[in-house]
C-alpha cells in the first residue's frame, strides 16, 4: 500500500469520526481536516494530537469543569482548566464555543435549568475575564436532561454537575 493511499484511508476515517460528532462540529469541519491529512510531519490535522483541533481541546486541554452540589462557584481545579481553555481559544481564533451547563438529577426540573445556566454563565464569564472575546461565546443550560453518567450515586452525580465548552467552527473560517 502506498503512502498516499494510506493517507487517504486515514483521511476517510477521520471524516467518519468527525461525522459521528456531526451535531457538534458539522460535516464541513471533518472534511476540512481530512483533506490536509498527512501533510504535517506525523501530526494528523484534526486528530487529538493536533493542538489546533477540537479533539485536542476536549481531550488534552479539558472541555469540562465540575461543580459542588447546588453550587456554581469555580473550584481551583476548574479555574486551572478554564485558564487552559482560554489560552487555547485565544490561540485558535477561528473557533466559537458554546458552554453547556448541566445539573445532576437531584433537583427539580425547572430549578436545574436555572442552576445549569448559572454554572455555564460562571464558566463563560471566567473565560471572558481571561481575554476570550465575548462574541465568540454563548451558553445554554440543559438542566438535568443530559447526564453523561447514569448511575444514581454521588460518583455519577459529581460528573453530571458540569459545564462543558463545546467548540465549533466560526462562520468566517
Amino acid at each position: 500500500m502506498t503512502y498516499l493511499s494510506k493517507a487517504l484511508i486515514i483521511a476517510a476515517a477521520l471524516g467518519l469520526a468527525a461525522c459521528t460528532n456531526g451535531d457538534r462540529f458539522g460535516g464541513e469541519a471533518g472534511a476540512g481536516y481530512g483533506a490536509g491529512a498527512g501533510a504535517n510531519g506525523g501530526i494528523v490535522p484534526g486528530s487529538a494530537n493536533d493542538p489546533a483541533s477540537p479533539a485536542y481541546f476536549s481531550q488534552t486541554v479539558g472541555d469540562r469543569v465540575f461543580f459542588a452540589v447546588d453550587q456554581s462557584t469555580l473550584s481551583p481545579e476548574a479555574r486551572a482548566t478554564l485558564d487552559a481553555q482560554a489560552q487555547w481559544l485565544m490561540t485558535n481564533n477561528d473557533f466559537l464555543a458554546v458552554i453547556e451547563g448541566h445539573a445532576d438529577e437531584q433537583g427539580t426540573r425547572e430549578y436545574n435549568i436555572a442552576l445549569g445556566a448559572r454554572r455555564a454563565n460562571a464558566t463563560m464569564e471566567y473565560l471572558i475575564s481571561k481575554g476570550v472575546a465575548a462574541n465568540r461565546l454563548r451558553f445554554v443550560s440543559y438542566g438535568k436532561e443530559r447526564p453523561v453518567e447514569i448511575c444514581s450515586e454521588e460518583a455519577c452525580y459529581a460528573k453530571n454537575r458540569r459545564a462543558v465548552t463545546v467548540i465549533s467552527m466560526g462562520l468566517g473560517s
Binding site: 456554581s72 427539580t108 426540573r109 425547572e110 435549568i113 445556566a117 445554554v140 443550560s141 447514569i150 448511575c151
Partner: protein
Amino acid sequence: MKHILALCLAVVTALALAAPAQAQNGPLRIEITEGTIEPMAYAVPDFVAETPGASEYAQQIARVVADDLTGTGLFREIPREAHISRITSFQSPVQFADWKAINALVLLTGAVSEEGGRVTLKFRVWDVFAGTELGQGMQFAATSDGWRRLAHKVADQVYSRLTGETGYFDSRVVFVSESGPKDERAKRLAIMDYDGANVQYLTDSRAIVLAPRFSPNGDRVLYTSYETGEPRVHVLNVGSVQSQILQSGGGVMSFAPRFSPDGSRVVYSVTSGSNTDIYMRDIASGATQQLTFTPAIETAPSFSPDGSRIVFESDRSGTQQLYVMPSGGGEATRISFGQGRYGTPVWSPRGDLIAFTKQNQGRFHIGVMRTDGSEERLLTASRLDEGPTWAPNGRVIMFSRETQGAQGTSSLYTVDVAGRKLTRVRTPDGASDPSWGPLQ
C-alpha cells in the same frame, strides 16, 4: 386529536317514578376530607345490552366506571362473583334484598345501545338500604370511539352524588412521553385520558420537550422546547397541533410557563446571565412585564385560581423555598419554613392548598400546605418524586416518579390529598411532567 363526541345529556324522566317523597335519614354521603375512611361498598353489575352490537360496550363501560370509582380509594367494589341478583332489564324493579345481602350500600345499573356508530348509555344510582334512587337517571351518547368518555361521565355523576363534589374522571392529561436510556432520553409531548388510555403524541422527539401545561379550558398547551437550541416557551394549539414560540422578552432561555386562570396571560421564567426571573406576558397584546428582580433563581410560578396572587420558588434565602406575591409583582412573602428545599409549587383549583415538591435528606416528597404555609403534609416519599399537578376538583394530585439507577425510568402516579391512595397511571412508555386538564 379531539374525541368526536356529541355528548347529549338528558334526564331520563320516566325513571323518576319510584322516588318516594318522604325524607330519609339524610342522603348517602361519603366525606372526602376525613383522614381515614372505610371505603363505601358498591356494586356495578354489567350494564344491560339493549341492542345486539352493544354487549361489549355494556361490559367494558361498567368496568371503566368501576376502575374510576375504586381508583379514588373512597369506594370499594363488591366483586361480581359475589352478586346474587343479575340485572337483565334496565326497567325492572331492583331486588334490594339481594344487594343488601352482600352489603352493597350503592348499586349502579345501566343499559347500553349501539346504532349506526353511536353508543347511548343510561344509568341509575341506587341507595340500597334506603331502597331509593340517588339523583335521577341520566342518558349520555357518543360516537363509538368515545365510549370511554361515557364511562367517565357516569363515574363523575356517581362520585358527585356520593361526595357532593365535582368529579374528575372525564378529563385529560398532557405529559412528556419518555423512551431510551437516561443519557440519551427521547421526549415527546403526549396527551391521554386521566387514566392513561387513548395516548396521542403532539410532537416528535427531535428536540427535548419539557413540562407541558394545559390552558384552563384545555384548548392550548404551553411547554418548553429545545428546538432552537435553547430552551424556549412554546404554545401549542391542541386542535390543530400547531405550535409557535412565545416571545418572552429579556433573555434567550425561557421556561417554566403556566397560564393565568382566564387563559389570557402566561407567567414563566427568563434567564439572563446567571439570573433567572419571573415574567408575565399578555398573549393578545404581547405586553410583557418583569415580576421579580432579585439576583436569585426565581421560577415555577403558578397563579391562585382567582388570579390575584402567584406562588413561586426562589433561592434568594440560599435554598429553594416557596413565596407568594401579588400577580402584578411586588413584595413576596415566604411561606415554606420546614426542613429541606421546596420547589414546583402549584395552587389548587379550589384555592385552599398549594402542592409542592420537597427535597430533604436525599428523599423527594410531594406535599401540600395551606396557602400561608401552615399545615404542611407530605403525601409521598421516594428517591425522586416531582412536578405535582391538580385534578380539576382539587382532591387528587398527579406527579412523576423516577426509579433509581442506570435503568431508572419515570412513571406517573396519582395520590389523593389525604395521602391514602397511591396509584400508578399506566402509560405505554416512560412518562413525566403531567399537567391535568379541565373536566370536559
